[in-house]
């Protein structure tokens, strides 16, 4: 008896456009004619959308027998996105993307350094290699839009605008952190930036994100708040797509046409579990159409491609046309967390993706298209170094959370636990650390 999944031939990818009818009206059918968009107004953006659904050439030299299951050749009809990308960003946009990606990368490198110096502790999951996804999506958002992340959340927080100082300080466990040291690496929250959390449990963030999208729709349609057109982005990994909450929420989001984009960061691994060993059909994007929403695959190592797909998916959500599932093919350049010995990933695989570093790719693109000079990019890198030096210094000098903070925030109710009738915290109760404080 063997539990190794059988290899199935893949049906050709189903190209979906934003004009695909929603399942509420008409169930999606595989014979739907995608060559005739029914909504001409969205046809131009939908060609990018369509383009991105092709399967990009995949790394295919793994020695393990199941490895080729990730690969699938592009359909002949695929539109070449490369031909059009040079029209897609301005100099300002290019520099903004570059800056955000450099910030994400350099911040995480700094975290590794600080972790080894004992400044931060516990599980620290770094984002190196995946920057094109965070930057490609989040930089398109408005401040009111929501982001829901996982334990790998530092860079999503930064892209959403949470200052480096606040994130670094949180990681140092200091009172000046974005959660005053109470949350930590896996639990970044910032109400001001509509970062609804780093959720450390697999799948947990997906329903919460779907709920945020539900609240936008509710505020608009039930409370008649016209401006309530926020879009929610839910980020999560390939391993998470085998968890029931993913499927439950794809269903409800499509059923209720919620303004959400499910962004899968498929880095091929869930700790030491290869995506191909965990998933009966590894093409995650295909699960969108199964629930009546577009499913898109995009090269997650190319920020410009991610951005094009993201633009359409976000606009679609904002127009009230419902959710989209986007699978970004990406790779993490470090172990699962700083505690992971990372022994199972094939060095050839790592090398392959290292060669597709999204930051080098954007840099090359910017330089080749004369969007900026080498010096301008260097200046950005230098600026980011300064920002991070400052963040570390700030975090280091910041005070530890005071003893009284332990009992704060358990309830929102100001008369909640730990607060006496005089309005003061009962932190001075000599027995409170023993869990026997009077409540």
């Amino acid at each position: 008896m063997s539990f190794t999944a059988t290899k199935f031939a893949h049906p050709p990818p189903l190209p979906l456009t934003s004009t695909t009818p929603r399942s509420n009206d008409k169930p999606l059918s595989f014979s739907f004619d995608h060559s005739k968009p029914t909504n001409p107004s969205s046809s131009s953006s939908c060609s990018f959308f369509l383009a991105s659904t092709r399967k990009l050439p995949r790394f295919n030299s793994l020695t393990k027998p199941h490895a080729q299951r990730r690969a699938s050749s592009p359909p002949a009809a695929a539109v070449l996105l490369e031909q059009t990308t040079n029209l897609l960003i301005t100099k300002e946009e290019g520099l903004e993307l570059y800056k955000d990606m450099i910030l994400g990368r350099a911040f995480e490198d700094k975290c590794a350094e600080m972790y080894y110096r004992g400044k931060m502790f516990g599980f620290v999951h770094l984002y190196n290699g995946q920057e094109a996804v965070s930057t490609g999506f989040i930089k398109l958002l408005k401040k009111e839009d929501y982001v829901v992340s996982t334990y790998r959340d530092h860079v999503h927080a930064l892209s959403k605008g949470v200052p480096s100082r606040a994130v670094m300080s949180e990681l140092f466990g200091k009172a000046t952190g974005c959660c005053r040291g109470q949350g930590g690496s896996m639990h970044m929250f910032s109400k001001e930036h509509n970062l609804l959390g780093g959720f450390a449990f697999i799948g947990e963030g997906i329903p919460v994100a779907t709920g945020a999208a539900f609240s936008s729709k509710y505020r608009r349609e039930v409370l008649n708040q016209e401006g309530a057109d926020q879009v929610t982005l839910a980020f999560f990994g390939d391993g998470t797509c085998n968890n029931g909450q993913f499927f439950e929420c794809l269903n409800m989001a499509a059923l209720w046409k919620l303004p959400i984009v499910f962004v899968v960061e498929n880095n091929l691994w869930a700790i030491g579990m290869s995506h191909l060993r965990a998933t009966s059909d590894p093409q995650i994007w295909k699960k969108g159409p199964a629930f009546g929403m577009p499913g898109v695959h995009v090269d997650g190592m190319d920020v410009l491609k991610v951005r094009e797909v993201a633009k359409e998916a976000i606009q679609r959500a904002r127009r009230g046309e419902g959710p989209t599932l986007v699978e970004c093919e990406t790779y993490r350049f470090r172990g699962h967390s700083l505690a992971d010995p990372d022994e199972l990933r094939d060095p050839a695989e790592k090398e392959h993706y290292a060669g597709r570093d999204p930051i080098s790719a954007l840099k090359k693109y910017i330089l080749e298209n004369n969007l900026a000079t080498e010096q301008e990019l260097k200046a950005i890198e230098k600026k980011i170094d300064e920002v991070l030096e400052d963040a570390v210094e700030f975090a280091d000098k910041s005070p530890l959370p005071p003893r009284s903070q332990l009992l704060e925030n358990v309830f929102a109710d100001p008369k909640g636990f730990g607060i006496g009738p005089d309005g003061k915290y009962r932190c001075e109760d000599p027995k409170f650390t023993e869990g026997t404080a009077h409540v």
Binding site: F121, G122, F123, G184, S185, A278
Partner: protein
Amino acid sequence: MSADPKVFLMGEEVGEYQGAYKISKGLLEKYGPERVLDTPITEAGFSGIGVGAAYYGLRPVVEFMTFNFSMQAIDHIINSAAKSNYMSAGQISVPIVFRGPNGAAAGVGAQHSQCYASWYASCPGLKVLSPYSSEDARGLLKAAIRDPDPVVFLENELLYGESFPVSAEVLDSSFCLPIGKAKIEREGKDVTITAFSKMVGYALKAADTLAKEGISAEVINLRSIRPLDRSTINASVRKTNRLVTVEEGFPQHGVGAEICTSVIEESFGYLDAPVERIAGADVPMPYAANLERMAVPQVEDIIRAAKRACHRSVPVAAAA
């Protein structure tokens, strides 16, 4: 596993990765992928599959990477596993073990750092074990796997790295421990300290310090949270007349509360001082190291409580 081919291990990263904490090291190589199964990240799914497999005669050992994640599977642990024997009037027994690290870990924040002993121990139909030493781990795990009922087996991440002396008896292949029996780790006469898992080590340390100050503490390693060894606890309290309970979990409705009730019911007249309860602070676990330290019981907390219990009784004795 070598004794019974019906036993298999299932969970996240238990095979090729050798366990997230390397606990299943070597098992894949020894028993093969049919009996050491790497699952996708789907606690509800694989726990339910384990339960279903146990209905039909297999003896699954389901690993949670940490017990925190068992919350996504709690429906199957409680509804499908714990209640089936009763609902089916004894037709369907569920010989399954749910195991993994439990309790406070270090620096991982509120969601990854929590003790589930009292959660599961409040549930009829479950047996809940919590080893402290290597001897406990070996003897209790074997008992759990052989047991005909669902067992929740709460290990501790921070103890994984600790070594304990083991006797030849423990190493013998026939060694097994009974479920429902506590162990007196250290005899004493002035105060009883009950603890389980990592807190047993803390209680023993506290007892060392107390001994230097002339207080003789008896340390009980509960080993089994449910069934709870009431007779060992009560016999000890009748001897020492004072009780300190220690656990990492939240104080309300905790293991300490249950022990306290048992002592009040059975040995109230023997108590010379109010029962002292040491527990984690009544807050989600904070990340910041200084707050985290305050939120989990420390050896000094146990020492202080034991002294309080002893000294409080002194004036009473003096007055009498």
